[in-house]
Amino acid sequence: MAKTGALGDKIFKVLLMIAATSILLIVAAIFAMMLRSSLPTIKQFGVAFLFGTEWKPAQEVFGALPFIYGTVVSSLLSLLLAVPVSLGIAIFLVEQAPKKLARPIGFMVELLAAIPSVVYGLWGIFVLAPVIRNYIGPVLQGNLGFLPIFGGRVTGIGMLTAAIILALMITPIITAVVRDVLEAVPTTQREAAFALGATKWETTIIVLGNAASGIAGAVVLGLGRAIGETMAVTMVIGNSPQMSPSLFEPANTIASLLAANFAEATDKIYLSALIEIGLVLFLVTFIVNAFAKLLIMSVSRRMQRA
């Protein structure tokens, strides 16, 4: 019986290992395929590809900067909106709410993450865009229009709409991770603070301090998700490769460019440029997610030590 056991063990382990290794193979294959297909534009444009400001397939001029700009700005703006709210929700759920309230509210926040991207896009086109066009836009432009970020034409389609939708989509992720991280902080920390006469809020600040790198990780994770978001963004951002200071003006992101134009690239160089810009997106999300993971892992390590 020991013999069959050993053979069975080997086969079992190998089968499982193949399955697990497939993950490595998938990522490696994606990277290799994209690199190979991008070689023509890499050879032709080099690093200038990343800094070129004009994207003109007809003239074979390919500069990725407007899309990198759009991706970065929409993501950072969405973080600006989402992080305070997410922190607030996480603090509410962990530190303040009674268990009976925390569960349904936590559940609702998680449901927000389950709603598909295209549904957010649909809602963005028909609900959010008119609200921005008819209410938020005129109010902001009327009062603060002298600021460049509130200039431009208010159409309801543009950077701000995309950022708000993105903020809604990344809030559940940030909340979930911050919540886990806050729950991981040992209660002894809170008890010590209370013993010294701190208010609930002051205690919370101490707990936040303990969880700081984990919170940073959550934020970076939200950033990673926002960078890669495709459908909701492409439906409300306006497909315009411009880098305008105004939040109301249309823009474009890498993912949105790929969604709109990948199917029609007949020229080798055009296809190569699209895949290269996709490769940029791939690498950026890879690095951002890796960084987030490291930050979050460092918290759990510190908690184990404490």
Partner: protein, 365 residues
């Protein structure tokens, strides 16, 4: 034990799925290879300009021949050309004829089959303006170059003295994807406006002035943006504007007349080009010399390989094209397209009859 059962169920499901999952059909092939019975599936993709027409034709043809399923996807003329070249579609559809360069990429010769004529109209979302606006090549070019920024610009007012134009920003909508409609539109502007010719020129994917407006995907997308956004203007095929009840502009043609897009004005525009139609049927007919001709009219094409690798599918395709150009005519006008002029129809018939499969001509003469 739950998991064991789960695994078994999954495995059986997967096995069942895979065994049924492959119909064994090559693109367009019948199940049994015979010429009676068996479903033939034809995949077409491309132009959104012609999408309502092809969807209607496919639907009606399907009622007459239930075993022929024609699946048309509006992905844009550029994508349609690519799909044909990479053979992921049985036929492509494009309003802009393929360039020599792209034709050379095909494994075997490609035929351009004109199907109907359509008009690219300028449609706009101005609630309070009920009458059609009058636009000239200069004003259109200036709007899309970003030089005319407001509806009550003096240049627009000069052409429309009796219309109250609002003091609002114009929002031009353009095609972000590779589009035959864009090609026709820019072809018109390139022929009629020197500044446009110099700065942007004619292309399926023009390099729009940065920041001039919003990009949308497909005729549907442009029309959708225009209907959703007040003060927007976009260029679409006439059928889309009609279906959404939005007014379209009257365009000044070469003779100085402000012409609306109607079957008559499109027919007038094409009539005088019939004699100039080249053998391969690739032509742009914008900027007509006809006095009452609409200046932004265009043929739209179905692209097929002359030599069909699959005989059964090729015959079905040829038969469908024949039907579309003859019996299918009865559906053309309801959708606001214009049938091919008689002089062209005979040339197209020759093209369809020249399609071969397995060395033999596909259609029985």
């Amino acid at each position: 034990m739950i998991l064991k059962n789960l695994y078994i169920t999954l495995f059986i499901t997967a096995a069942v799925l895979f065994s049924f999952g492959c119909s064994g059909q090559k693109l367009g092939e019948t199940n049994d290879g015979g010429d009676t019975g068996g479903t033939i599936r034809l995949q077409g993709s491309g132009s959104t300009f012609a999408k309502p027409m092809y969807e209607k034709w496919a639907n009606e043809y399907g009622k007459l021949h239930p075993n022929v399923k024609i699946d048309y996807q509006g992905t844009g003329s550029g994508a349609g050309q690519k799909a044909l070249l990479s053979k992921t579609s049985d036929f492509g559809a494009s309003d802009d004829p393929m360039s020599d360069e792209d034709l050379a990429k095909g494994e075997s010769p490609i035929l351009h089959i004109p199907t109907v004529l359509g008009a690219v109209v300028l449609t706009y979302n101005l609630k309070d303006v009920k009458e059609p606006l009058r636009l000239t090549p200069e004003t259109i070019a200036d709007i899309y170059l970003g030089k005319i920024k407001k509806w009550n610009d003096p240049k627009l007012k000069a052409d429309n003295p009796n219309t109250a134009l609002p003091d609002a920003d114009i929002l031009p909508i353009y095609r972000a994807d590779s589009s035959g409609t864009s090609a026709v539109f820019t072809d018109f502007l390139t022929k009629t406006n020197a500044e446009w010719k110099e700065k942007i020129g004619m292309n399926k994917q023009p390099s729009w002035i940065t920041g001039v407006g919003i990009g949308a995907k497909g005729n549907d997308g442009v029309m959708g943006q225009v209907t959703q956004t007040p003060n927007a203007i976009g260029y679409v095929e006439l059928t889309f504007a009609k279906a959404n009840d939005l007014t379209t502009a009257q365009i000044k043609n070469r003779s100085g007349e402000f012409v609306a897009a109607t079957p008559e004005s499109v027919s007038a525009a094409v009539a005088e080009t019939v004699a100039q139609m080249p053998d391969d049927l690739r032509i742009q007919i914008t900027d007509t010399a006809a006095k009452n001709g609409y200046p932004i009219a265009s043929y739209t094409y179905i692209l097929v390989y002359k030599d069909q690798t699959n005989t059964a599918a090729g015959k079905a395709l040829a038969d469908f094209l024949w039907w579309a150009l003859h019996d299918g005519n009865s559906f053309v006008e309801d959708l606001h397209y214009v049938p091919l002029p008689a002089g062209i129809l005979s040339k197209v018939e020759l093209k369809i009859n020249s399609m071969t499969g397995g060395g033999k001509v596909l259609r029985q003469q």
